[in-house]
Subunit: 439 residues, 2 copies
């Protein structure tokens, strides 16, 4: 029996052991998706705290069900470890580590590199390795493969198989979870693809095979570049609309009445989260290496970079209408999560606007029912406040930065002196009615 | 009874007479939509030939049913005239004239201006006037209104009413026609909006009212700017993908498997038709007046302008692989319509590529089953050829510029020496297989 057949058989009869590196918002739901199908999963985590939490059945990811995690731990079908030498126990390894950009918008490949070194040093022959982290096209073939071969002394397609299969996790999405979101799968070579489809098919309802890892890498970048470009476009059009006394929110809703050829995007204080602000710049990085300028991504990036400053100005000129300077005013921000109804402040544009406004001398407060405290990327620690009549009356300006559905908008507007609404939270007012200022 | 009530009553009991200025791909289907509901329609046309054709029941618009037009003419519920003094017979006038851009991408407002002068000089008191032509926001209020007031000596909202309601005609769309595509309606003032909704409600199944003509003007621009920006983005990504040995068509199909947050656009030789290449530049025009740079539209426009040159290069380097120069080669283009299965070559990028290639010394032929001959914007007359074994064998390169569904792709590829496929017409080949070169 060939190594491929051996592994396929193990997958078929659920005796494969799957290692998942990184138990964050991608890795933990994926681990649960495999484990609930009876496949043994070993999670690898650098954070002792997270690994312990998992092993105690304590969930820390919004999209994972607490009881299900506890049950799978109890059944011993899922466990976590900080000991990466145990990679040798697994026949399949899935990498779900972060891929941030550094300050200069250069991809920080250190997490992927670290995972590849751990794998190369510990894996046994006949291991299947799949990367899910968003990255630039060619990463699997040109970055991962040489590291693993160097560290292991083994040969790809002879001793181990490689695959890229991008995560499509949308935190807080009530309809599409890890297991029912179609998954793009790009194995390197025919054998790898066979194994990849068999393995992922165990946990994911629908797979979409593509011809290569680089095609799969490009799919993810295309999806998120599409979003970056369209959000930037609508942010720019919102600015122009404001100058022309046009309510952009009304325009977007009306355009949505077109039954084909249009998808709505909304303006806001900027682009947040773990994907859209980052992914397109992976592509820009690799394009630079080919002396290729991505003018659309470049233009979109510039608009997005300016957006927090424009939002600061919006607040300053709203205060100005009330004959107040920003310096010395108290400004209350509502919502620091990067999107509604989640507890994730990563890359949140609200934090950026708060920093800018504080830098101009304002006293900055924030309230977010999901995020009681938060550290921004400059290392500043913010402590949330309760939303009370007193706080609302005290603030010279209240700013909607996230439209959490639990906000009692009517109450907030009634009690506030002045409102800047960056999320169309206040539906039934004209663009500038004196109290509520909209984008 | 007020003038508004009088007109509303006439609309209600189908005794209103509707004048439609411009019987092109927007005006004629709209005229038919009203007439089939028993409303008397008088079409105004500058072209004697078109007016006569309509009056003889001879249809010249793809989306109009020949028999229905003939029937409505016979029933005398619809007729056409070149006599604009007959505007005085109508209580409602709908303007469906073209709004091209001039060579310097400045809106050519002369057709709208002409229509407004004709209306102002001929209308009676109590006339409702709606503009459907795509144009920059504020046109209805700041451009139309003064001309009509000046020419008529009447006052808007006292003696006549204004409205903007953008056409959403998608030629060749089998599902969405004039009457079942939701229509955005922006009357100027409450009375105008009341009349507009009553009138359009007679012919159109679903109306979407907005607060002002300028909001309605912006809706149409947003819809088409969205398309321009996304087509430009994918054209740029296609170029990069080509450099990275990634099949962009495969990537787009795979991205479509994401069930939310993505809409597919496809690369091609450039952007054609009557809307997308033009409309966003209306907005750019008005933005310039406000000292506002629209960086996304600007970037998209640049990519689109370069696209025909990039396509010329694509052909040149495909020929180069066969050790042939463009100069002296015979190149056969398949399809000059701007999209599949229609007979409209307006702003077709194929014609632009043909011109460029001819300029480099190639012998250029074209075949389009829907367009036997065509004049390009440089005034050059092109005569189509039949698609035969001989022509296919003769051509040094065959180029798919429009993917008409009637093309027998397998046959064409078999008989051709070399194929450049700009439309993913040839599905089952790798990106560069030696004979077929794809974007």
């Amino acid at each position: 029996m060939s190594k491929t057949e051996e592994l396929l058989k193990k997958i078929e009869n659920n005796t494969v052991k799957v290692g998942i590196i990184g138990l964050g918002y991608v890795g933990l739901p994926l681990a649960v998706s495999f484990a609930r199908k009876g496949i043994n999963v070993l999670g690898f985590e650098k954070s002792e705290k997270k690994a312990q939490s998992v092993n105690k059945g304590r969930n820390y990811i919004g999209d994972v069900d607490d009881a299900e995690l506890a049950h799978l731990i109890q059944e011993k079908v899922l466990s976590a470890t900080t000991d990466f030498s145990r990679i040798s126990e697994c026949e399949a390894i899935i990498i779900c580590v972060p891929t941030p950009l550094d300050k200069f918008k250069k991809p920080d490949m250190s997490y992927i590199e670290g995972a590849c070194i751990d794998i190369g040093r510990n894996m046994k022959k006949g291991t299947f390795i799949s990367l899910e982290s968003t990255t630039y096209p060619t990463t699997t073939e040109d970055f991962m493969k040489p590291i693993i071969e160097r560290e292991s002394g083994m040969k790809e397609e002879e001793d181990f198989w490689l695959c890229f299969s991008p995560e499509r996790v949308d935190p807080g999405n009530k309809t599409y979870k890890t297991d029912n979101t179609p998954k793009v799968v790009g194995g390197l070579g025919e054998e790898a693809q066979k194994i990849a489809l068999a393995l992922y098919g165990k946990a994911i309802q629908k797979l979409y095979p593509v011809s290569s890892p680089r095609a799969a890498e490009m799919v993810k970048i295309l999806e998120n570049t599409y979003r970056l470009v369209n959000i930037s476009l609508i942010n720019e059009l919102a600015l122009l609309a404001g100058k022309m006394q046009i309510n952009i929110w009304e325009v977007i809703e009306a355009a949505k009445s077109k039954p084909y050829g249009f998808q709505a995007f909304y303006p806001g204080p900027g682009i947040g989260g773990h994907c859209i602000p980052l992914d397109p710049f992976y592509l820009e990085y690799v394009a630079k290496g080919l002396n290729f300028d991505l003018t659309m991504i470049d233009a979109a990036g510039k608009i997005n970079n300016l957006q927090p400053y424009r939002m600061m100005n919006k607040i300053a000129f709203a205060l100005n209408r009330h004959k107040k300077a920003m310096n010395g005013s108290t400004i209350l921000f509502l919502g620091v999560a990067y999107k509604p109804d989640i507890d994730d402040p990563r890359e949140s544009p609200a934090l950026e606007v708060m920093s800018l406004v504080a830098h101009k001398g304002a006293k900055v407060l924030y309230h977010d029912p999901y995020i009681p405290e938060v550290m921004d990327e400059h290392g500043h620690h913010w402590q949330g406040v309760e939303l009370t009549d007193e706080i609302l009356a005290l603030a010279d300006c209240v700013v909607f930065t996230t439209n959490h559905s639990c906000f009692d908008v009517e109450y907030i507007v009634e009690k506030a002196q002045l409102v800047v609404d960056m999320r169309n939270a206040v539906k039934k007012v004209s663009i500038e009615d004196g109290k509520v200022f909209k984008l």
